[in-house]
């Protein structure tokens, strides 16, 4: 699927400081039965967000009206476990454009990038600064600047650079996805197959 373009975002944040937030928490398996990509927002953090009678859990951050925004802050090892891309879809579908953590699970990171959701990996100390700033002022604005690979606190100007490989950066800036690129390589793929089958037969 072609992805939405991303350049610069200034937004308040929703903090979820738990560590090891696995994809079963982001979206439990029983909600993976859809055959389309849409509508997963309802199931985001379902079992933390709603009790067994489907009543919102008042303590859970997404049910706390004091917090809102397009940036989700998570603790270390965000997105571990299952490869379900539905986890990234659910976060994006809910309205988040960026997830910030000090550490992402590999498959989740790929899935997020392929969905157009930007994973921003920061240092432990910077993550702590963000959590503290938001705890003190729920309206704290964080700026994500993809061209300069920079995340900053708008008020104080405290900032940090983040890594992203230049190919994926281009994809996000322009809204490209990988399939167009791979299809453009078809001739080389066919040549590779020919060489490989020749090697196998000899």
């Amino acid at each position: 699927m072609p992805i939405d373009k991303f350049e610069i975002l200034e937004s308040t944040c929703v903090p979820l400081p738990a560590e090891n937030i696995d994809t079963d928490q982001i979206i439990p398996a029983r909600f993976l039965k859809a055959i389309s990509r849409e509508g997963f927002a309802n199931y985001l953090f379902r079992d933390w967000r709603y009790d067994k009678n489907n009543k919102p859990v008042p303590d859970f951050i997404l049910n706390n009206t004091e917090y809102s925004g397009q940036i989700l802050l998570g603790g270390k090892n965000f997105g571990s476990g299952s490869s379900r891309e539905h986890a990234a879809w659910a976060i994006y579908d809910y309205g988040f454009k960026v997830v910030v953590s000090s550490f992402f699970a590999d498959i989740f990171k790929n899935n997020a990038l392929n969905t157009g959701l930007l994973p921003v990996q920061v240092t432990k100390s910077f993550l702590k600064i963000l959590f503290t700033a938001i705890e003190n002022d729920h309206g704290t604005i964080v700026k994500i600047d993809l061209p300069n690979q920079e995340i900053s606190l708008a008020a104080s100007g405290i900032k940090e650079n983040f890594e992203i490989n230049s190919y994926k950066k281009e994809c996000l800036l322009n809204g490209y996805d990988d399939i167009d690129y791979l299809i453009s390589l078809k001739r080389r793929i066919i040549d590779f197959e020919k060489i490989k089958s020749f090697e196998n037969e000899n």
């Binding site: 738990a18 928490q25 079992d47 793929i189």
Partner: protein, 464 residues
């Protein structure tokens, strides 16, 4: 001087993007009903064909019931997903081992048993436990649905080459210690994120002396410490397992393949980014006490105290104690349990059913236990019947269900009820993994068997 991983990876790179990922050619693409429908829909939208349908194998496994498989699937959404897989496979000429097919089963169980998994291959599947196939000396890893779409469209995926880690396990295993205990031990030492960014090669005498099925259990759970996958250099054990399988090379083809297979090992002075070493003698039967697979301990140990936990992890630890209703510092021995689940791509193969049966044989299932013994495939089911295991299980109060992913992720009706304790041979003890509010304790088939007989957490060594 290359690692085994580098040799296979480099041989599959079609091109490299500067400061970006490699274009990696995929030899075998496995698909199932949950993570493929949106990929097919994406292709349809772009009007692209499936590029190499003959390199794709499909199975319905995640959603299917494990009883009365001859009847229509009752859950409408599950049925829709399984039907969609059939429809997509028909439309695109993809081989499907659907429900009731003699080769049906969990995709990571059936591909090896059919000889579809072979040394030197690259294998992907929209499922994180694709790492299982690394036991044969393959690069096998889980991908997301966008990547499934890439693989359908081009037989390639874009991947950044991971770093390489080697883990040695040397020595002789203690009584009642299986490969499940080894991997739970390793994860408990290096944590659920200890290998993120790495691909792991497992080596050492303990690995060499293991069966293929035991090796698969180890590679399967590589993802539970964050690794993209695990790999084990193929050897005579591997070659013996592969030969005479349905789709393995035959005759002179096999002779040619063997020449290649035998080159598949890390060079003596190959450099790894990280190396770790474990002694088999240090490993005992394991059990998990928390809500990620890194929270494991020797079955005779006690849950750590909060003071023993690294400060950053204390909040998660507290939360998991609350979820599990456990008290830090306590032993789990004799904790009453309600459910025992034997199955999954981790421990649903014939050796697992054998191990479980060997222990329960001559005993009776405890009344309080509901046991779900779920074979990983139709062929495992058939073999269990042929070996008389089904009768032995029946005499001990257990029945064998029909194959599928079942209670490992509880997408079908095999859900552990809220608040109940489940000793499970599967791979994840995340909150709600086996059903909303379910409390999972990961363990080996032998620990599951001992606990099924007594109705409480039990060290299997007292039975052996």
């Amino acid at each position: 001087m290359k690692t085994l991983f580098d040799k296979i990876w480099d041989a599959h790179v079609i091109s490299s993007i500067e400061n970006g990922p490699d274009v990696l050619y995929i030899d075998r693409h496995l698909i199932h009903e949950v993570t493929s429908p949106q990929a097919f829909a994406g292709l349809r939208k772009r009007n692209f064909p499936v590029f190499r349908p003959e390199k794709i194998i499909a199975a319905a496994d995640h959603n299917i019931p494990t009883q009365n498989q001859h009847l229509p699937i009752r859950d409408e959404l599950s049925k829709q997903q399984v039907d969609k897989l059939s429809e997509n496979c028909r439309e695109h000429n993809i081989t499907l081992y659907g429900i009731n097919h003699p080769f049906n089963g969990i995709i990571h169980v059936i591909a090896p048993e059919l000889g579809l998994t072979q040394p030197g291959m690259t294998i992907v599947c929209g499922d994180s436990h694709t790492s299982t196939h690394g036991a044969f000396g393959c690069i096998a890893f889980g991908i997301g649905t966008s990547e499934v779409e890439m693989a359908l469209a081009s037989q390639c995926v874009l991947q950044t080459k991971p770093k390489k880690m080697r883990i040695f396990i040397n020595g002789k295993l203690n009584k009642c210690v299986s490969s499940k205990d080894i991997i739970l031990h390793i994860i408990s030492k290096i944590s659920a994120s200890g290998s993120t960014g790495y691909f792991i090669e497992y080596a050492g005498s303990t690995i060499r002396n293991m069966s293929m099925e035991a090796r698969m259990t180890i590679c399967n759970m590589s993802i539970e410490m964050g690794a993209r996958g695990g790999i084990i250099a193929p050897d005579e054990t591997t070659f013996n397992y592969i030969k005479d399988r349905k789709f393995s090379p035959k005759g002179t083809d096999m002779d040619k393949s063997l020449i290649l297979f035998k080159t598949l090992k890390s060079d003596d002075n190959a450099v790894f980014d990280k190396e770790l070493s474990f002694k088999a003698e240090d490993i005992e039967p394991m059990i998990t006490y928390g809500t990620n697979p890194g929270m494991g301990m020797k079955i005779t140990d006690s849950i750590p105290f909060i003071e023993d936990i690294e400060e950053n992890n204390r909040e998660s630890f507290r939360k998991s104690m609350e979820y599990m209703n456990f008290i830090p510092g306590r032993s789990l021995i004799d904790l009453p349990v309600d459910f025992v689940f034997v199955g999954s791509c981790t421990n649903g193969r014939i050796e697992d059913i054998r191990a479980f049966t060997s222990l329960v044989q001559g005993h009776k299932k405890a009344d309080r236990i509901t046991a779900w013994i779920v074979p990983g495939s139709k062929q495992v089911e058939k073999q269990a019947k042929a070996e008389g295991l089904v009768n032995l299980l029946y005499e001990a109060g257990f029945e064998l269900r029909q194959p599928g992913c079942s209670a490992c992720l509880a997408m079908n009706e095999d859900k552990i009820p809220e608040g109940k304790y489940s000793v499970s041979t599967s791979n994840r003890n995340f909150e709600g993994r086996q059903g909303p509010g379910a409390r999972t304790l990961l363990a080996s088939p032998l620990v599951a068997a001992a606990s099924a007989i007594t109705g409480k957490i039990t060290d299997p060594r007292i039975f052996k």
